[in-house]
Symmetry: C2
Subunit: 256 residues, 2 copies
């Protein structure tokens, strides 16, 4: 715990992920990822092996002073949330923040599955028919179910959070996680999201704009450290998006 | 925190879930689930609304002495793990236990998707063609990838865990979670699992048998509190299982 204070002022966290745009140190980074996902590794320095990136490496915080290695997005977020003051004010809030993060990541995973419904290891083009079906259900049933849920979370916390925060009165890693998923959905399904946004005034009127203007977040989003969406979890295949902007609105609000 | 000690001796935890086999109190339970998943609720007693069961209710531990309500399986497990001494001995172990739990639950979710690859809200029978493809990838690529990973975790922790525990030298909620997923896979894909088990001696030779014989677990599994698998996440559709027990073994070990 003695390293916490130091970590806050000079974070030694190192995020290991699949390479994005190559740059300085790319060769070193590729070597590290290759080691990280080695299918014969039983781990090192007291850390377990990693199933898949991302992983977080924190020098000096592992067993016997070695680096600590943590993988799985919610586990990384929970660890960092505690260290960076982005978790809750008490035990109840900490639990809800992890819970909302997991729900936002479920939405993230379902968005991924729209272009890979049958085989994670195969190309989109080889599962396009199934993708069209999966995306239709996702757009018509799942998106409104998730967005409606988060709108209700914001409403239930309106007294403290003023529509800006999912839990309590300050920014948490649940807020930043949900924000990123929403921005990914806007990239992947622009017509669907444009048609639906007005049904969720707190989510898109208050929350979305507040988070992207928050201290640090705004600077990050405006920098080249923010990677553009392309062919990752969120992909824009026009055929998987809503085909007419008024597809549903004529018949009234869709059922949940 | 003052309630922790009391909780250890007389746990007031109440798990809210979709009804299984009806019994005493079923009407009350159905009413509670109906309220829990009300699509207009903004939460109650300071708790956020629930996206979906399961949820855990802990009297007196919420805001202003109200009941605390937590949903999302990993969040519930993390909360209970801390209270019941089923998490780790230090911060590193706590992170790894959450991480392995999330990986085991990813395997759980992928097992579910074999019978619902296209539409969560539709019947299996209406997505059977896609299920056959999804199940083939799951059996041939994903099952060996996950089982191989957990075998390596056990091997990396063998000095302390002796093949019995994923992290450290005692039972954690990662162990119980992985155990349940493995038992579900044995129910859903009996031929596939029978053919593969021998490749993972720690996982099926030591770990699986140790967890099911652990204090409390053994009694639970032998009681009628342990629900039988049927048409939940794990389903036994013979057409989705391996079709011949020697499908792959003749050609040697499958690639990972």
């Amino acid at each position: 715990m003695s390293a916490n204070k130091k970590a806050r002022t000079q974070p030694p966290y190192e995020l290991l992920y699949w390479p994005g745009i190559p740059g300085r140190g790319e060769f070193v980074r590729m070597k590290m990822i290759s080691t990280l996902t080695d299918q014969t590794s039983t781990g090192s320095d007291g850390n377990p092996p990693t199933f898949a990136p991302p992983a977080l490496r924190i020098p000096g915080e592992g067993k016997n002073g070695a680096a600590l290695l943590i993988s799985q997005t919610p586990s990384i977020l929970s660890y960092l949330g505690d260290k960076l003051g982005l978790d809750g004010a008490d035990e109840a809030e900490k639990s809800w923040i992890l819970t909302h993060t997991l729900t936002a990541l479920d939405l993230n995973n379902e968005a991924h599955d729209t272009h890979h419904p049958v085989a994670i290891g195969a190309y989109y083009e080889d599962q396009k028919d199934e993708s069209l079906k999966k995306a239709a259900e996702f757009r018509e049933k799942r998106i409104p179910k998730f967005l409606g849920y988060f709108e209700r979370v914001l409403k239930g916390n309106q007294e403290q959070g003023q529509g800006k925060f999912l839990v309590g009165g300050r920014l948490s890693y649940a807020d930043t996680t949900l924000w990123h998923v929403l921005s990914g959905l806007e990239f992947a399904f622009p017509k669907e999201m444009e048609a639906r946004k007005k049904d969720y005034p707190l989510l898109f009127g208050t929350f979305y704009n507040t988070v992207k203007e928050a201290n640090g977040i705004k600077e990050y989003l405006g920098s080249d450290r923010r990677k553009q969406f392309s062919l990752g979890i969120f992909r824009h295949y026009p055929e998987l998006d809503r085909q007419q902007t008024d597809e549903h609105t004529k018949a009234g609000a869709p059922s949940q």
